[in-house]
Amino acid sequence: MKILVGISKSPDTTSKIAFTDGNSKFDENGVQYIVNPYDEWYALVRALELKETIGGTVTIITVGAAADEAVIRKALAIGADEAVRVDADPKDAYYTAAQIADYAKSNGFDLILTGKETIQYNGSQVGGMIAEALDMPFVSLATKLDVDGTTLKLEKEYLGGIQSVEVTLPAVVSCAKGMAEQRIPNMRGIMAARTKPLTVIPAVQVEDLTSFTGYTTPPAKSSVKLIDPNNMDELVALLHNEAKVI
């Protein structure tokens, strides 16, 4: 089975979120980039497990600048066979999806996996967009994925519950928690990653459907009001009269 996994970088989860240039750009100063947790822990690891049980190849693809190669090597160290970098700034989800769909179209994959969302844009957009561009079915927020011949059996998050579905390959799936367990790359993986193929390809032309014009951070909380643990009636009164939430 030929599997393609979309890998995005994201700021380390403890990063301070700040903006520069008149609040128009994310301030990368001191920010460590990691592989977006959903892409790494769930999509990539499940792809590797499938490869290990039924055979095949795992290719990862990133739309991003040369600086993203550190993150790409990390994903290779976890076990992907090869990497492709589309040399472009991922302007928005539509632009990113169009690049990945274009590569996938000419390389014929059975299964395309993405993370549920990137932790910086939280869009949950790229997977569905790839699916539409390739006219493939899309299963979003899958928590379990098994392959039976050419059939995928999945469980997915659905309105506070779980839905079991079945779909014939090829398909696009976005991966959420439950799908696989995080893997820590070992020394051998890290060494091997250095020599695995990383192909850089040019971007195709795509119009920008959306653009981010600026950012704001939420106002700081005023300091906490402490309540005596033996006076929960006071807390209830405050929630009712002051906060007006009950």
Binding site: Q120, M129, A133, E157, Y158, S164, V165, T168
Partner: protein, 312 residues
């Protein structure tokens, strides 16, 4: 301006639907499109929130993403809509991106407000640590509205309900079963949430969390380690790698308030923190704090809530 609102009515029509219609009404004349087994009386109720017409394809049950995309695209075409609004739920995450490509319509995902004066729309980014303003460059646009971002407004209108042939084609994704927690309030929609962390010491102690949730009519949530070790189900895990919620009230007991946890809950309007450690970082993000033992404080709070409910 003609606005099309997609409503998922598979499990009844509720608050999210009213919010989405209210949002649409502020942008223009609202037509709703929906599908599945739903009664006309519930659909007509959408008129009270501003829908003038409801198009329903009742033949389309357990529709997949491609069918819903066709249904909505065909409805948009019929009513000449250039703006399509979703509630940012699991169905929207499945369908809205497809529709964006199909219609070449810019998608604003996770909107939290109406468009600003300059036409940009605010969305949640960096897992709730910031807001971004998104400009749509295409003529058509799709907005996926985060639940609990605007207040539904009953303006007392009425809607006509019409059968609509969605021409949705065949399903490629076959639904085998759908399990919904019985009687529980789905966490992403809940206005009130009671959450607990490792401070509760073990799954056998969750009774006091559930009692408070029940007294309040709240949903329950938990921190990541708690769902990782299997004390609580995965769908309760909130935070950067779980789900992000924006309830009116978030009560956190025995949770330290790590930055990754806060990322999923800092959109809450009011936060109450119960922790034995006065230095717990969560207090910095809280509106109200109780320095105390959750095992004593939670039952007392439950009693106080019951007393309040009985007299109000």
């Amino acid at each position: 301006m003609s606005v099309l609102v997609y409503i998922n009515s598979a499990h009844g029509i509720g608050k999210n639907a009213f919010e989405t219609v209210t949002y649409g009404k502020k942008l223009g004349d609202v037509t709703v499109v929906t599908n599945g087994n739903v009664d006309d009386a519930s659909l007509a109720k959408l008129g009270e929130y501003g829908a003038s017409k409801v198009l329903v394809d009742k033949t389309l049950v357990d529709a997949d993403d491609q069918q819903l995309t066709r249904l909505i695209a065909n409805a948009a075409d019929q009513v000449g809509a250039n703006t399509i609004v979703f509630s940012h739920d699991h169905v929207a995450k499945n369908v809205a991106p497809r529709l964006s490509v199909r219609l070449k319509a810019g998608l604003v995902s996770g909107a939290i407000a109406l468009p600003d004066a300059d036409g940009t729309i605010k969305v949640n980014v960096f897992s709730g640590k910031a807001f971004g303003s998104v400009k749509v460059n295409s003529a058509k646009k799709i907005i996926s509205l985060l639940p609990n971002s605007i207040q539904p407004e009953n303006i007392g209108g009425s809607a006509t309900v019409e059968a609509f042939a969605g021409n949705a084609g065949d399903a490629k994704v076959k639904v085998l079963s759908t399990k919904q927690p019985e009687g529980e309030i789905p966490l992403p929609e809940a206005e009130l949430v009671v959450s607990a962390g490792r401070g509760l010491k073990g799954p056998e102690n969750w009774g006091i969390v559930e009692d408070l949730a029940k007294a309040l009519g709240a949903a329950t949530a938990c921190s990541r380690p708690v769902s990782d070790i299997g004390w609580r189900p995965h769908h309760e895990h909130v935070g950067q790698t779980g789900i992000a919620i924006r309830p009116n009230l978030y009560i956190a007991a025995g949770i330290s308030g790590a930055i990754q946890h806060l990322a999923g809950v800092n959109g809450s309007k009011v936060i109450v923190v119960i922790n034995t450690d006065p230095e717990a970082p969560f207090f910095k993000a809280a509106d109200y704090g109780v320095v105390g033992d959750a095992f004593e404080v939670l039952p007392k709070l439950t009693e106080a809530i019951k007393k309040f409910k009985a007299s109000n």
